[in-house]
């Protein structure tokens, strides 16, 4: 694919790119500013081909016919060129998939659920929209926040303030409802 317009994805004219990295798209008319890097001209690497293991040579754990080129840093299994995953050392695909050891700490997740946001939004939204529901959502948020406390947060968030706020709000709502119930119960008992 040639350098394409960021707006309409049509190829940008090279004669315009030659003029200081700016190019007007001939399709949509947008003015494009192009920042290109050397990777643009890097030769495309051919996929690694594992060599056949000869008699007496160490073979890959998953491909017994292929010659081993390294051992997994986590489990020690031999891996061939195809299986070797370079990731701060050499890893076997099984360990990477299982997120074992350092692979787990490397945050290769592609998506996460934000439990802290759920825990905070539920008691606050119900308080603002229809407060009687907080009889359920207040204690519910408290339990939910405590139960999910150890779940991983967003990759880019560093603190658990949403969990803390959810616990405080949920706790406040729960205490409030307990107080209301006790108050009316004592008044009812006093009348009896």
């Amino acid at each position: 694919m040639p350098i394409a317009c960021a707006r309409c994805n049509a190829p940008l004219p090279v004669w315009e790119l030659a003029a200081a990295g700016h190019a007007g798209c001939t399709s949509c008319g947008s003015r494009n500013t192009v920042s290109a890097f050397p990777a643009l001209f890097a030769p495309t690497q051919a996929p690694a081909r594992a060599e056949v293991a000869l008699d007496g040579e160490a073979a890959c754990f998953d491909h017994p016919g292929k010659r081993a080129v390294a051992a997994c840093q986590q489990c020690g299994r031999f891996v061939c060129q195809l299986c070797a995953v370079e990731f701060g050392g050499i890893w076997c695909p099984t360990c990477v998939a299982a997120g074992a050891g350092p692979a787990k700490a490397a945050n290769l997740d592609t998506e996460r659920t934000l439990y802290d946001s759920i825990a905070l939004l539920v008691p606050v939204a119900t308080l603002l929209v229809f407060w009687p529901i907080t009889t359920i959502t207040g204690p519910g948020a408290l339990v939910f926040a405590l139960a999910r406390w150890k779940r991983p947060l967003s990759l880019v968030r560093r603190t658990r303030w949403r969990f803390i706020a959810a616990i405080l709000i949920g706790f406040g709502e729960t205490i409030g409802w307990i107080w209301v119930v006790v108050y009316y119960l004592t008044r009812f008992m006093a009348r009896q």
Partner: protein, 330 residues
């Protein structure tokens, strides 16, 4: 045998798109950029390793994004309205004038200072939704470019001619590659026969509308119908040609505007005709209608608009002819 790696620490890069349900931001890691797209309670991540980034392209375009921040400002702005009765005399005019100025400012920024940013690697081509203002794009590039150049090195100024630009990104489609290699001749053109006919018919329609007594209701009204038919066919052909990549976007927009204008003109004339007939006990024939000044004025307004569209079309052709690259001129 193993040592635990520290958790990756990300630093936020300029730009944050905040929607009611969706949000997006870009973060800088130790050796990669992290694109975060969130849909309410779920975040999706995509990593672009600095060593793999081939290009970052920013295209200027209008973006009318209503962020949660602007909704918050609107709510805050509207809140004092609750105390309207206590406002001093003339304050309401100032208040709403300032609100209108804010809206106009937002419209100007959205129309003239907005952009789309895309990042290219060998296997992907992704938009960065958080970069949608030109000043954000400048700050983003000033932060990211040095980091990528630290890893990859920098290209010299003659990189376009030095290298094989067509090798960028994932494998090319035959049409796209052909469009680049064969140069401007195969690229979208600013004019075609259909677009020329469309502009010509717009001019004729504009002129005919100034003489409704003869061409809208008189003996020569078939000329008006014929021109209308020619315009409709040519405008449709222009749209098809744009869809096939033959005709440029400017002429396509002109065709769309002229079709919308014709639709509005039709409904305005029918509506006013109905209103006039409803207010009278007897139904007027076409010739009698052309004697009503208001009806004639409406026709002439639309005629003038058609002429303006034709002038815009001619301007598009002239300006694109002036922008032809040197290799074409030679």
């Amino acid at each position: 045998m193993t040592t635990a790696q520290p958790r990756e620490r990300y630093r936020k890069l300029p730009g944050h798109r905040r929607g009611i349900f969706r949000a997006s931001s870009v973060w800088m890691g130790s050796d990669h950029l992290l694109l975060v797209k969130s849909v309410r309670f779920r975040e999706e991540y995509k990593r672009f390793f600095l060593r793999d980034v081939q290009a970052i392209v920013v295209a200027e375009r209008p973006r009318f994004h209503i962020s949660t921040r602007s909704i918050g400002i609107a709510l805050l702005w509207g809140f004092p309205w609750l105390f309207y009765t206590f406002w001093p005399r003339g304050f309401a005019t100032f208040w709403w004038g300032a609100a209108a100025a804010l809206v106009v400012t937002w419209l100007c920024f959205s129309a003239f200072c907005s952009c789309t940013c895309r990042i290219y690697t060998g296997v992907s081509n992704d938009e960065l939704p958080s970069i949608y203002r030109t000043w954000t794009a400048r700050r983003f590039l000033s932060r990211v470019k040095p980091r990528i150049e630290e890893v990859q090195g920098a290209l010299d100024a003659t990189w376009v001619t030095a290298g094989d630009v067509a090798s960028l990104g994932p494998p090319a489609s035959a049409a796209a590659a052909g469009a680049l290699q064969s140069g401007p001749d195969s690229a979208a053109r600013s004019r075609t026969f259909a677009s020329d006919v469309m502009i010509g018919s717009l001019v004729v329609r504009g002129i005919l509308d100034f003489f409704p007594r003869y061409f809208s209701a008189g003996h020569f009204r078939w000329i008006s119908y014929l021109v209308l038919l020619i315009w409709l066919v040519s405008a449709t052909a222009a749209l098809v040609e744009h869809h096939r990549g033959v005709l440029g976007a400017a002429m396509q927009k002109l065709a769309i505007v002229s079709i919308v204008l014709a639709g509005i003109g039709y409904y305005v004339s029918v509506g006013s005709l109905t209103a006039i007939n409803f207010s009278r006990s007897t139904q007027l024939d076409e010739r009698a209608l052309m004697g009503i000044p208001a009806f004639v004025l409406i026709g002439r307004v639309f005629g003038a608009l058609n002429l303006l569209l034709a002038i815009a079309g001619i301007a598009i052709i002239v300006s694109s002819a002036g922008r032809q690259p040197d290799i074409i001129k030679s």
